[in-house]
């Protein structure tokens, strides 16, 4: 099935420029693994980035690289094109497989509420924002939330529907603070999504709201 919903061009631009927060970049990279169109857009945007980069005023260099150092690293050059390892039988995009493993059915879900499970992903370093997998049982509303800051959702399995339309594997919802939506997971398949948010606190707030009706707080 072809992908109907893509990240905003402004999001792809930020990805290609390197300014996109890592959790959001993880979702874009995961989408790209499934979407030739966005791979092409990012390739073009990277060319545009190179052209912009070339117009920046040069900064005089103090030290050229010593020839000795070049000679010392020569051995590494000889290998020709590096072979990329064959991807294992995997339904998890390579970008996040290194964090959560290669198979969705092997993920150790943590229960978050009735019919909702999650798997937080810790990227390490100075992580800006939040990244996690979310699994929703069939026919259930997904956590309702407004947004402050960008949020990207990629469907990895099953599907969901909201005011915008139907989202299946590979589709991305690229939302900003303007959007309020009420997604409902597919009645038969449920839904597994990768969700990134630019701001950590807000996402915690969202989970709080998921839990709220369940705990009666």
């Amino acid at each position: 099935m072809s992908i109907l919903h893509h990240p905003d061009a402004a999001t792809l631009m930020s990805f290609a420029g390197g300014g996109l927060a890592a959790p959001l970049a993880a979702v874009v990279a995961s989408h790209m693994a499934l979407c030739p169109r966005c791979r092409n857009d990012v390739a073009r945007l990277t060319e545009i980035g190179a052209a912009a980069f070339a117009t920046a005023p040069p900064e005089p260099v103090e030290h050229p690289i010593p020839i000795m150092l070049l000679r010392a690293t020569e051995a590494e050059i000889t290998g020709g094109h590096a072979e990329r390892p064959e991807p294992p039988d995997s339904d998890v995009p390579p970008a996040i497989a290194q964090f959560v493993g290669a198979r969705l059915d092997a993920i150790q879900w943590r229960r978050l509420g009735i019919g909702i499970w999650h798997m937080p992903i810790h990227l390490g370093g100075a992580q800006r924002g939040d990244l996690r997998l979310l699994k929703i049982a069939p026919g259930r509303p997904m956590p309702e939330h407004g947004h402050r800051g960008a949020e990207l959702t990629l469907v990895l399995a099953g599907r969901y529907r909201d005011e915008v339309g139907e989202f299946a594997r590979g589709d991305v919802a690229d939302l900003d603070e303007e959007v309020e939506h009420r997604p409902v997971s597919d009645a038969v398949e449920g839904c597994i999504c990768l969700i990134a948010s630019e701001r950590r606190a807000r996402f915690t707030g969202m989970l709080g709201r998921v839990l709220q009706p369940l705990t009666g707080m």
Partner: protein, 178 residues
């Protein structure tokens, strides 16, 4: 430039590398300083980026992209890793080239050199308000909200200027491909 890179890949040509270094070293250094690195750190990162070019030249294929795009991507990834201290999810251009072959970019080196010149010309023709946002995104490596903060523009305005700019640039690049 692609030819220099090819000579490094094929023959470990030190002279070719020296010329590439002279062209791109000062740009990479300036690029690092744009994201807040001091001169000494920028110099180190520049050296590391150019050494990566030297070491990985064999991975580069002049049929799949041009030298400046490849070097930009190496510098960008190094900047995310060292200055942003974040996980890098951006691949170097070659990695996706085969998969994307359906709408592949034209592959003659000459065309690609021309392509970069045309993209630069197209950048110059953008309305200043759009060009400025493009530079903040690509050269300064700022996020949408950082650009909004720096320019005092609304987030929606930043994003719509990016979309408009990309639309125009893409149309120009597509014309090139014909």
């Amino acid at each position: 430039m692609a030819e220099l890179l090819q000579r490094i890949a094929d023959r470990k040509d030190v002279e070719a590398f020296r010329r590439l270094f002279e062209t791109f070293g000062p740009r990479v250094k300036s690029y690092m300083m744009r994201q807040g690195a001091d001169a000494a750190t920028a110099e180190e990162l520049m050296q590391e980026a150019l050494l990566t070019v030297w070491r990985k030249a064999a991975l580069y294929s002049s049929e799949k992209g041009n030298a400046s795009t490849w070097i930009f991507a190496i510098a960008r990834n190094l900047r995310i890793d060292r200055l942003r201290r974040e996980t890098v999810f951006q691949e170097l251009p070659d990695a996706y080239a085969e998969l994307a072959s359906e709408e592949a970019l034209p592959d003659e080196t000459a065309v690609l050199g021309e392509r970069q010149r045309r993209i630069r010309a197209a950048l110059d023709e953008l309305p200043e308000e759009q060009r400025a946002i493009i530079m903040l995104s690509f050269v300064d490596g700022l996020s949408h909200s950082e650009i909004a903060e720096q320019t005092g523009l609304a987030l929606g305005t930043v994003k719509s200027r990016m979309r408009l700019a990309y639309q125009k640039l893409r149309d120009q690049i597509e014309d090139l491909a014909e």
